[in-house]
């Protein structure tokens, strides 16, 4: 979210306060993702529900103090979309692998994209959209290693089976990760927007290797 600041764009108090409020939205939604599907009556779970609600109130309050009604509207609209996408994991939705990836991108990056759009930082959107997807796929693959099954994985497997594919969804995720990293690297290396230090930062953050990746890409 701070790419525009790190890349030297003009950054004022409103940018900063609004960025914090978007971060608070992520905290709110992440808190509710931690609630167990069943047996959430422990004190810790109860407080987690309320922490999420508190953060929701807080982001609204922060933007209300800035009198930025338009951004409240935009971000709320995004939360509707995100909640709908999250609910799809529980609704026997059957969709293609690509559609699941789009859903994940929405869940992971929509609020930041909306923030960028609001402040005319549109040029950073592809980086956050792809970067957050890479993070999520890496996280899911890590959970697979730990033998932890998520609703997203179940939904993906269910869709693949329903649509008659015999593909291994874990392999699909690994290939997708590789593909997204290659595209990300390509976008970074061809970007005239990003300062060198930011390019290097992103390369390190996403574990990208410029020359090797380009070679792989050319081979393909």
């Amino acid at each position: 979210m701070l790419l525009p600041l790190l890349n030297g764009n003009q950054w004022n108090d409103e940018h900063e306060q609004s960025a914090i409020s978007v971060a608070v939205i992520y905290s709110a939604l992440a808190a509710h993702d931690q609630i167990k599907e069943l047996n959430a009556s422990s004190k810790s779970q109860q407080l987690t529900v309320l922490a999420g609600d508190y953060y929701s109130g807080l982001y609204y309050q922060m933007l209300a103090r800035l009198s930025n009604v338009e951004l409240i509207r935009t971000l709320s609209n995004g939360i509707i979309d995100i909640s709908e996408k999250k609910a799809s994991f529980y609704d026997d939705v059957k969709q293609s692998f690509e559609e699941w990836m789009t859903s994940i991108q929405t869940i992971e990056s929509l609020s930041i994209e909306q923030y960028y759009e609001h402040f005319n930082f549109n040029q950073y959107k592809p980086f956050v959209r792809r970067g957050m997807l890479i993070h999520r796929i890496e996280h899911e693959l890590e959970l697979v290693k730990q033998m932890k099954v998520t609703r997203f994985q179940e939904s993906l497997a269910y869709s693949e089976q329903y649509l008659g594919y015999s593909r291994n969804w874990q392999e699909l995720l690994k290939l997708e990760l590789e593909k997204q990293k290659i595209i990300m690297m390509d976008e970074i290396s061809h970007s005239h927007l990003l300062d060198n230090s930011i390019q290097q930062f992103l390369v390190e953050m996403y574990g990208l290797r410029l020359k090797e990746q380009v070679l792989v890409m050319r081979e393909r």
């Binding site: 709110a28 939604l29 509710h32 993702d33 609630i35 167990k36 599907e37 069943l38 959430a40 009556s41 004190k43 109860q46 407080l47 529900v49 309320l50 999420g52 609600d53 508190y54 929701s56 109130g57 807080l58 609204y60 309050q61 933007l63 209300a64 103090r65 009198s67 009604v69 338009e70 409240i72 509207r73 709320s76 609209n77 939360i79 509707i80 909640s83 709908e84 999250k86 609910a87 799809s88 529980y90 609704d91 609703r151």
Partner: protein, 321 residues
Amino acid sequence: MKLKMLYSDMRSDLDLIEIELEKAVNSSSDLLNEASLHLLLAGGKRLRPVFVLLAAKFGHYQIERMLRVAVPLELIHMASLVHDDVIDDSEMRRGQLTVKAQWNNRVAMYTGDFIFARALEYITEIQKPEAHRILSYTMVEICVGEILQIEDKFKLDQRLQDYFRRIKRKTALLISSSCQLGALVSDADPKTIIHLKRFGYYVGMSFQIIDDILDFTSSDKELGKPAGSDLIQGNITLPILFLKDSPEFRPALEHALSGNMTEIERLELIKRIRESDAIAKSKAISDRYLKKALKEIDELPASPAKKSLRDIALYMGKRKF
């Protein structure tokens, strides 16, 4: 008299609110659609929209504009109920399965988040920053109240002051803000806005105390859940605060809070609480708030809405369930 009869003057506007509420919970997700409608169609008193509309009658009343305030206030209330049912592990609400019982906790989380976001989407049609500052402050305070409620759970030794502070945040603030926002958005004069805000606060306090009394005095059927559920869940309400130091009640209350109470013991304890003076004492405090609410109405400028506010406040103070 039924509450709905008191709303008869506002019937057409309230029908518009119901239509708008249904539209508001419409979602591209079948699951969220069903879960939200499930709650909406279970009904409710729609107190917050009613207070918004009545307060707006003291300004320039335009129903299209007031829908943008009344609908989100009911949605915020609904969203908090969906999440409260997860916190309280409640299976039933208004005689129906809760969202978390019918689906699961996570679905209840997303349903609440969806409804809450929809509420904000609606109210942002109102471009008055002050309205957003009031509502956002209210929402943060409600959460703080709920966090305090969890902290205070199962603690018999708490002060009346703790209880009043809790119910202020839990109930009174949102009703107070409904009145304040209705008046503010309809451009009522500043003094009127303050009196309506205070009216909402007092009536909200009275309402919650009655609600807490009814948890003991109503039947399981009327409540749609077992009588005494508040106590069983560890929520110490006003009647219990009046009984906690009584040697006759203390052991039974501690036993109830231990989670080991049998059904026969529950029925016996409920019977004893009903027969105790704690109910009358709690009622007297509710009445005191009600009187203060009525006094605020006296300060309002002449309007037919004054009678409606009075009737609803009196109804709320005397309701049986």
